[in-house]
């Protein structure tokens, strides 16, 4: 049986397009997105306020510059499995915590570094002007630095999110869920008979990543403050 026949057989599964059945591509896609978005949200809450504060007071520059390098060096695959082992040892829910913790850890460095860099590279005159007109420091951070740095922060979020999409798929190795990676890992588990499922799962994961990348490009365009967009347009 060629892998195309296997693919056809795989596609012929009656539940393949179900939103509620575990065999369904829509179900797995939602699962994939849910995990990625949850991790991104947690990582954002943990890093952006801290990075904003540190950048405003120009502290922790070394951490900001090295965070991404450290993050890159950690293999996501290994991190998931390490957390899976620890969770099983501490008798935590292994279908949820290992993957979530690994994802949050992987999403934090780009978010932190980009927020920091976005704030630090703002023109100091703008900040001084706001201070002169009586803005408090927290107002400068929230009303000036955060919106003005938002394109750079969103660029970091985009990198982080795509890495999350890639990592959720890998998470299927230990996780009962694992989104679209489920098809790939289950396919590998049965060997050459699984090539149809492997191919379909891989293609779905690739398409999901490309769609999410496009969505992020749109969000960045919409979320960029109008003044900043005008300024950038003039500069071009």
């Amino acid at each position: 049986m060629s892998f195309l026949d296997q693919l056809n057989a795989w596609l012929a599964d009656p539940n393949r397009w179900s939103w509620t059945d575990k065999a369904g591509v829509p179900y797995r896609t939602l699962e994939h997105l849910r995990f990625s978005l949850l991790a991104l949200a947690i990582a954002a809450v943990l890093t952006i306020p801290a990075a904003l504060w540190l950048a405003h007071y120009r502290r922790g520059a070394f951490l900001a510059s090295s965070a991404v390098n450290i993050g890159r060096a950690i293999p996501s695959f290994g991190l998931i499995i390490l957390f899976w082992f620890l969770a099983s040892r501490w008798e935590l829910d292994t279908t949820f915590w290992p993957l979530l913790l690994a994802l949050v850890a992987l999403a934090m460095p780009p978010l932190f570094t980009n927020t920091y860099a976005g704030v630090v590279t703002l023109e100091q005159e703008t900040i001084d002007a706001a201070r002169g007109t009586g803005y408090r420091e927290w107002q400068i951070m929230l009303r000036l630095e955060l919106p003005l740095a938002s394109p750079v922060i969103l660029a970091g979020a985009r990198v982080a999110f795509l890495q999350l999409i890639a990592t959720v798929a890998i998470g299927a190795i230990v996780n009962d869920g694992g989104g679209l990676g489920r098809y790939i890992v289950d396919g590998f588990a049965v060997g050459a008979q699984g090539y149809g499922a492997i191919f379909a799962g891989g293609l779905a994961a690739v398409l999901l990543a490309l769609v999410c990348d496009g969505a992020f490009a749109l969000i960045t365009r919409v979320a960029t403050p109008r003044g900043l967009a005008l300024q950038n347009a003039r500069r071009d």
């Binding site: 390098n69 293999p75 290994g78 499995i81 890639a166 890998i170 492997i198 799962g201």
Partner: protein, 232 residues
């Protein structure tokens, strides 16, 4: 398929998470996997660098092609690693080729961008002086522009190397070995073997840091005139 050269250790479900005894007993296997990991990384970087130089030369000569090439590399960079392996395996099987195509592809974005940026940074006076001395376009590129772009190229290579080392752990899914073998095998033993997982993860982090350091040092040696360049 790969041969299991790891001797299982009985009764390691007990408290000590890391067992030096296991490391001692499997030193040969650890070295073998480390060498595999380095070879896979080196091969991916080598292929990526050759392709990148080619595409960068095209981008520099035909400026209009640069956004197209960079855009394509950017789209490929977005593809999840496991997804890429999964799409290729039905065509190429569990082989070196299936692993190399995505691994090399992921290096393209950063390498092409850094080569082109690096060459663009070469001062125009230098270029004019070389042309005045009779350098042809090709000689100018290979003997003047690329060597002067070296710090920026190496900065890109550092990022690519560290990323690739992390991704090679995933290729253990294809049975190609490397340190990912320990990570995967660590949960496939009768009782999960944390020592194997920690050795796999730890060594790949150490390898990434060491390779980053070696490349940084090589930049100092090869391009001593330049300091403080960052990958973009």
């Amino acid at each position: 398929m790969h041969v299991n050269t790891v001797t299982p250790l009985a009764a390691d479900s007990g408290p000590p998470i890391f067992q030096w005894k296991w490391v001692d007993r499997n030193a040969d296997a650890i070295v073998q996997r480390l060498v595999e990991h380095i070879s896979l990384t080196g091969a991916a970087l080598g292929i990526g660098l050759v392709v990148s130089i080619g595409l960068a030369v095209v981008s520099l000569r035909y400026r209009w092609s640069y956004p197209v090439i960079l855009g394509t590399a950017g789209a490929l960079y977005v593809i999840p690693s496991l997804g890429a392996f999964a799409v290729l395996v039905p065509f190429f099987g569990l082989t070196f080729v299936s692993a190399m195509i995505p691994l090399a592809t992921y290096t393209l974005l950063i390498l092409i961008r850094n080569i082109v940026t690096g060459v663009d940074q070469v001062p125009n006076e230098v270029r004019e002086a070389a042309v005045g001395m009779g350098y042809t376009r090709g000689k100018l590129l290979w003997q003047i522009e690329l060597p002067l772009a070296l710090p920026v190229v190496i900065a890109g290579l550092r990022v690519a190397a560290v990323t690739t080392i992390g991704l090679v752990t995933v290729t253990s899914m294809l049975g190609l070995g490397g340190l990912g073998y320990f990570i995967r095998a660590g949960i496939q033993t009768a009782t999960p073997n944390p020592t194997m997982i920690i050795v796999g993860v730890g060594l790949s982090v150490v390898l990434a840091v060491v390779v980053d350091l070696v490349l940084w040092l090589s930049e100092r040696v090869l391009a001593p005139w330049s300091r403080k360049v960052r990958a973009r």
